[in-house]
Symmetry: C2
Subunit: 423 residues, 2 copies
């Protein structure tokens, strides 16, 4: 008699809940030992990792997977190196667990403050990149959480081989194997079970394409840290230094086209458009970026006509929409209406305009005189990121170790009683 | 042709979303003026408030509402006073919006920090107490959010009269009336609509009985700040000073039986049970508290036998379950298993035991040598509370103004570019 997927996932959930209590109280040293021992195990298992990955690649080729997907699936020596480096970096990060802040005396005589603690059990759902197994597991472990990892079925052999190394790392630190569990079945029902077990799973982090994230968010009964679109804007204001603005806009678009912080729409104040746009357009054109503009833009430079759809689109490609606006208000209005509340920047030397833009643009990151492509956990000093949240609840923007924790109140007294002046 | 409930709620949602942008950027002074002018309007409208309330009470009596419900529904002069005082207190609280923290330079030269901003639109769902209309509206307004308030149908006339005063307050501060909207229909479908409009509502706060909260949480497609059970424990450890422990346990149970922070289960270490329990039991018995104990408890004091159900029960009544445990580990295990992750306390003078209890008990509030009945926004210094969260995501424990906000990243540069050492 075989176990049903639901029974299997329930078993994983129970084990994770029990392991969560152990890892929550593990010392920083013990967690770091597990991370470093995992790095050592990966280094020693290079041959097995490549062999397991070869099984996935062979199956992928047989199933006619797209070349881009096969590329993401491949565990090259450089990618194994980078997993090892990543583990060591996470080991070197400060441990957020247990930090106490704002401890202060209240009139009653009790002291009240907040202590940072793990969330409990984190479910990670991802697609074909096997390195996510290490990235996600290491951040969850360092932040004191148990993890259930559900990778793409096309990477199952690679993920199992990586899981073996993680198990060795946990064992070396005398931590239970169920602190990090990899879902062994490729049955899609496993995802459905994972996202509907609030009794065993505290938060879900889906990593992958928009389709995956929308599906998970729609069906989840557990909170989801999610990242949808990155429709990012740069607004070149009336008071921008135009050469600085041009450098920032060029970097925001061309640093890498495929990242979520890439600029997709450039807003230019009408008062500077005639001076700013022609040299800017020439630079983009030389780089091979296709320009789509509003009618006023097209009066100034050569560009395809932008449609209403363009303002809503995350190209992730060498395409840029450009709109001339009459004021700061119109720029803020455009961003809050068409944007995805991800990352938006103003270029200005005018303090009052900067202050209003930073306060009124409702995005996870607002930037002044900096390109939107800086939106990244490493650039922000988080050390690493589990994802970027476009939600407002719990975590917003790049999510690092802190986003995998919460705070509880700590109250310390010495026999003070409520409703009584003195003891 | 009448408007459907869904159309009506969509109209409210759209208006709230637009108003949210206005209130988010309102100055502290403007928000305080609205709060103080509402207080003035309430004071001037005492007669109208009582008359409107009388309509609700008459309808309630005709519908044979329970006396307790009628009592909660009644707007006495003292309750109107306390709404006025509450508004003035919220006006006096510091404004959390716009606070920037942890602004620091990164190696790239950009500065990164976090700014506190409103969530947007808060939906409040509550039952018969009309004063919640003012409590909730004032906290949402001060934290820069628009609010949609859906009170119990039995309080509709009272809530409308209060809403008129709020509208006067908003007008006096030149803020749009739709910053605070009271749902005018008593159709229950309005609740269903409110909790499934993520495009217009950012968070839902249900205030009322467990049935309401469970229903809302189950059906919501918007995040919910929720409070379920308060099964709170006091553990008297082997190293407790027993007279202090007795005072704390007595206060935790008897300060008020009906609050969520009231102790429901007393755990006593086996090594002190024989000395601690007899005088403790005598004090409780004198106060009229019914005792239910485990077999070892009943060997020491007179008590009814506690069943497995007792450990799971929030009595909110003069009933207490008592269990003798063999160790700190057993106490923590009991609390994490049977408790509701609300508020739990240890009484001990032993530093190592205190440290472990505070770290390992997985509750919104953990207390050392203080009674659980201190779990309260005012006692914690929040100034006021919109509720107490037993969730881990976003807000945990008493939720004040800060829980109605989130943080976005602010990045300030001066032309720094990504992927380039210098400009």
């Amino acid at each position: 008699m075989t176990e049903s997927v639901l029974d299997y996932m329930t078993r994983l959930g129970r084990a994770a809940r029990a392991a969560a209590r152990v890892i929550a109280r593990a010392s920083t040293g013990q967690k770091n030992r597990a991370l470093l021992a995992t790095a050592t195990a990966l280094d020693a298992a290079r041959e097995q990792l490549v062999a397991a990955n070869e099984l996935d690649l062979a199956a992928g080729r047989a199933n006619n997977l797209e070349p881009a997907l096969l590329e993401r699936l491949t565990l090259t020596p450089a990618r194994i190196d980078s997993m090892i480096v990543g583990l060591r970096q996470v080991a070197a990060l400060p441990d957020p667990v247990g930090a106490i802040r704002d401890m202060s005396y209240r009139p009653s005589g009790i002291q009240v403050g907040k202590m940072r603690v793990p969330l409990g059990v984190v479910g990670i759902i991802y697609e074909s990149r096997p390195n996510v197994t290490i990235d996600a597991a290491s951040l969850c472990l360092k932040s004191g959480n148990a993890t259930i990892l559900r990778g793409g079925s096309e990477a199952i052999h690679s993920n199992r081989a990586i899981a073996t190394c993680i198990a060795q790392g946990l064992e070396a630190a005398q931590l239970p194997a169920s602190v990090v569990q990899v879902v062994e079945t490729t049955d899609r029902a496993a995802v459905g079970a994972l996202i509907t077990m609030p009794e065993y799973v505290d938060i879900i982090v889906p990593r992958g394409g928009k389709g995956l994230i929308e599906r998970v968010s729609r069906d989840a009964r557990v909170p989801v840290i999610k990242h949808l679109d990155g429709i990012c804007h740069v607004y070149v204001s009336a008071n921008a230094e135009l050469d600085k603005a041009q450098r920032i806009a060029f970097n925001a678009k061309t640093y890498r086209y495929g990242i979520c912080g890439a600029m997709e729409t450039l807003l230019v104040d009408a008062s500077v458009a005639a001076r700013f746009l022609p040299p800017m357009a020439a630079q983009f054109r030389e780089k091979g970026v296709e320009l789509r503009g509003c009618p006023r833009t097209r009066d100034l430079i050569e560009a395809l006509p932008a449609t209403e759809d363009d303002w809503h689109t995350e190209y992730l490609a060498p395409i840029l929409s450009i709109r001339v606006v009459d004021s700061l208000d119109e720029a803020i209005e455009h961003i809050n209406h068409y944007g995805s509340h991800h990352t938006d920047a103003i270029v200005t030397e005018h303090q009052g305009q900067a202050r209003r833009f930073m306060a009124e643009v409702d995005s996870a990151s607002v930037m002044l005189n900096a390109p939107t492509c800086f939106a990244d956990g490493f650039e922000y000093g988080l050390g690493a990121e589990i994802g970027i949240s476009t939600d407002k609840i719990h975590a917003r923007g790049p999510v690092g170790l802190e986003g995998l924790t919460c705070e509880k109140y700590v109250v310390v007294g010495d026999g003070q009683l409520r409703g009584q002046e003195s003891i």
